[in-house]
């Protein structure tokens, strides 16, 4: 004879409603000390989506037509490819992802043969999440192009480029080849379990191959459930104008758009929370 259990098989956590205050996976409940089946499968689904985001190739044709229409481009974006042939190579050789392959480098050199100078080159790179690039590029650039167009200063834009199997630093080579004063790299970030669609923005002033991270500014987590498109474009445009004025980027150029928030957060009263309320 087996005793009928007095408590349920899956024990729910009485503090489950704390879920409303964070995206962290709290109050999951338990079977014994282990994850209940429903929570296990929810995790597996999120991990599967993140893995798919890493391994699904960018649909360059679809993105190029979408951008051409959304931005009213006279010429289709230039398609480029890094030295990493495929995803397996890309994941193991970051150095390959940072430079163009010979074929597309020549192609870009021909396109840039006019020696014309540009104020900004925008480089779209698949990075670790093609999903992020596919979903967020057109909305972001539509917003940014509007801001650039209505600015008092004139902004000459280099031809738009789309890179497959690329890492952030590949933008510096492309920016240099295009004779651009500044380069914006829009790249799919390493997917988190709850953020497979996060876009990163990197800006370099006076791009050239071989620059390190300290010469770039980064705006991260651009996605519908993260940093909103409008706000991301506003922050980037501020940075770009500052870079143009000071002729620097990276650690010498601080992102001042967040300063107010930081000071507000540092107020001593703001550590109050329900755990220490009385």
């Amino acid at each position: 004879m087996v005793d009928k259990p007095t408590s349920p098989i899956v024990v729910e956590n009485p503090w489950e409603r704390l879920n409303a205050f964070t995206d962290a996976r709290i109050g999951l409940g338990r079977a014994g000390v282990s994850l209940p089946t429903s929570k296990l499968l929810a995790f597996q689904l999120a991990h599967a989506q993140a893995q798919d985001a890493v391994h699904t190739p960018l649909d360059v044709d679809a993105l190029a037509s979408e951008l051409t229409a959304a931005l009213d481009l006279s010429e289709a974006p230039i398609r480029l490819h890094s030295h990493a042939q495929d995803r397996a190579m890309y994941l193991q050789r970051p150095d390959y992802g940072r430079r163009l392959n010979d074929e597309t480098r020549e192609c870009l050199q021909q396109a840039a043969a006019s020696q014309q100078r540009f104020d900004l080159a925008v480089v779209i790179v698949d990075g670790l999440s093609a999903l992020a690039v596919q979903q967020n590029s057109a909305p972001f650039l539509s917003t940014l192009y509007q801001m650039l167009g209505s600015d008092a200063a004139d902004w000459q834009l280099a031809p738009l480029t789309i890179v497959e199997q690329g890492r952030v630093a590949i933008g510096d080579e492309i920016g240099a080849l295009l004779n651009a004063e500044a380069v914006l790299v829009m790249i799919g970030e390493r997917p988190g379990l709850s953020s497979p669609d996060s876009l990163g923005l990197y800006m370099t002033w006076a791009p050239q191959p071989g620059l390190k991270d300290d010469r770039r500014n980064c705006i991260s987590n651009v996605r519908p459930a993260g940093l909103q498109i409008e706000e991301a474009a506003r922050r980037f445009f501020l940075l770009l104008k500052e870079a143009r004025q000071l002729k620097v980027s990276g650690v010498k150029l601080k992102d001042r758009s967040e300063d107010d928030v930081l000071e507000g957060d540092a107020a001593p009263s703001s550590i109050r929370n329900f755990l220490v309320a009385d």
Binding site: W15, T22, R25, R93, P94, R190, L262, P268
Partner: protein
């Protein structure tokens, strides 16, 4: 003039141009060494290198520095702090003999504790390259490294956890929610440690105060840490912030640490500053270090060494400053350094072994990123192996998902799994607290309370009505 190493196997002759090359070629395969161009070119060459390495006297490593003494303060630390008396009992051994000795019944826990100051990181790395996973586990289990601050970490039969309540915007209610979730699952004896989303002094001080208030209100025998740069924590101490542990990421070469923005004198200053606060109750270990294979290569500061040897050298830095906790964040760095579950598992066991052999209180962030070829099953395996090996602590995070750092590590549930299947307990002082707070119905069988303990039920009544989250 550095020595070269030659041998012949069958009709093929092999030559290794330096000790560094021999070490690298003898290393079990991993993507970071391939990226650095130092990996063995064939499976045979790897084993041949291991055979040559096995014949080398341990004293070789005292006479031939892998990074010149003049160029690197970590090399100087290793050589200058080497204890010849402690080394005496093993000074006649080759690397191969050293493996035999470590596995033998001569090498008891007491004997290993006596010789540790005579072992250099390079000796530990060399012998680990000849060892199978079970060897790494067996010897590590014999090495005991116990440390203390408000509780005691690393006692036999104990497995502690770092409660890691990270939040992408450092929202205090969100962080408090994760802390409560962790405490109610028995997590947090190693430390309650937050990686701040915004890395500056003001933000760090705010988070330190938050955790200090929680620890004081509930009288939790544990310590807190904000994982910000060591210089930020020094400034926080000057401002009078409640600093329990000082954090820093460390590497095994001077150039790595310079790229992280500190040197050994910074760490000495930080240890002294934190100790001067006298906030520990049962011990004075005030440093929390994180390491991980690949960091030196990533900083372009590896001097042609393989990544595991660089990593072992980081433990020389760690042991100089008497840390409470040293955490190898093994799978965080990504597949260009450790490609898949197999490489992550091997590296985790190597790091734990080398650290423990050198007398460092090793824990492990059993983890992976979404672009690595790894999943929860790989983490279950490594967690179980490290639990068997006597690992001091692991991470504890809600549902394995770090929503700030975007990677997966062990959950509160995972820690209870390990404690249950391996018969391990929390740190003794913390275990008493868990019992007093009625977080467990029966702590001896790891049976949690189905009801919300009274002290916390009261706190939940103070929840804000309007969630700020969203």
């Amino acid at each position: 003039m550095a020595q070269t190493y030659h041998t012949t196997v069958g009709s093929r002759s092999y030559c290794f141009a330096s000790l560094a090359e021999l070490m690298a070629k003898a290393t079990p395969p991993r993507s970071g060494d391939r990226l650095a161009g130092v990996m063995a070119e064939s499976a045979e060459q790897r084993v041949v290198a291991q055979m040559v390495l096995a014949e080398l006297p341990l004293t070789t490593f005292l006479n031939e520095a892998l990074i010149p003494y003049e160029d690197d303060e970590i090399t100087r630390l290793i050589i200058d702090d080497h204890n010849a008396d402690a080394f005496a009992p093993i000074s006649h051994l080759t690397v191969g003999d050293f493996r035999n000795w470590l596995l033998s019944d001569h090498a008891t826990s007491e004997v290993l504790a006596e010789v540790k100051a005579g072992i250099t990181p390079e000796m530990a790395a060399a012998v680990s390259k000849l060892m199978r996973n079970q060897d790494l586990i067996l010897v590590a289990k014999k090495c005991r490294v116990t440390t203390a601050f408000r509780n005691t970490i690393g006692l036999p039969g104990r497995l502690a956890t770092r409660l890691q309540p990270n939040h992408p915007t450092d929202d205090v209610t969100g962080i408090a929610a994760s802390i409560l979730d962790g405490l109610l699952y028995g997590s947090g004896d190693a430390v309650i440690g937050i990686n701040p989303a915004t890395d500056n002094v003001a933000q760090s001080v705010k988070l330190m105060r938050l955790m200090d208030e929680v620890i004081q209100k509930y009288q939790i025998p544990t310590q807190s840490c904000v994982l910000t740069h060591v210089t930020n924590t020094l400034e926080a101490i000057e401002q009078g912030a409640p600093v329990d542990l000082v954090f820093q990421s460390i590497g095994g070469t001077e150039a790595t640490n310079r790229s992280f923005g500190f040197d050994l004198s910074t760490l000495a200053e930080a240890e002294a500053a934190a100790q001067s606060l006298n906030r520990g109750t049962v011990g004075r270990n005030v440093m929390y270090f994180e390491t991980g294979q690949g960091s030196s290569l990533s900083a372009d500061a590896h001097h042609g060494l393989d990544q595991q040897t660089c990593e072992a050298r980081a433990y020389a830095v760690a042991r100089k400053f008497n840390p409470l906790l040293v955490n190898t964040v093994v799978g965080f760095i990504g597949p260009e350094y450790l490609f898949d579950g197999k490489e992550i598992t091997r590296a985790g066991l190597e790091d734990h072994f080398c650290g423990k052999l050198l007398g460092v209180p090793m824990g492990c962030d059993v983890c992976y990123t979404n672009h690595a070829e790894a999943d929860q099953n790989d983490m279950d395996n490594l967690l179980t192996l490290l639990g068997v090996a006597g690992c001091n602590f692991i991470m504890g995070i809600p549902g394995s998902d770090d929503i700030m750092l975007n990677y997966q590590t062990t959950s509160f549930h995972d820690a209870l799994y390990a404690r249950r299947v391996l018969g391990l307990k929390a740190a003794p002082e913390f275990e008493c607290w868990l019992e007093e707070m009625q977080i467990f119905q029966d702590i001896s069988t790891h049976r949690l309370n189905d009801q919300l303990p009274a002290a916390f039920a009261n706190s939940l009544r103070h929840l804000p009505q309007e969630p700020r989250h969203g």
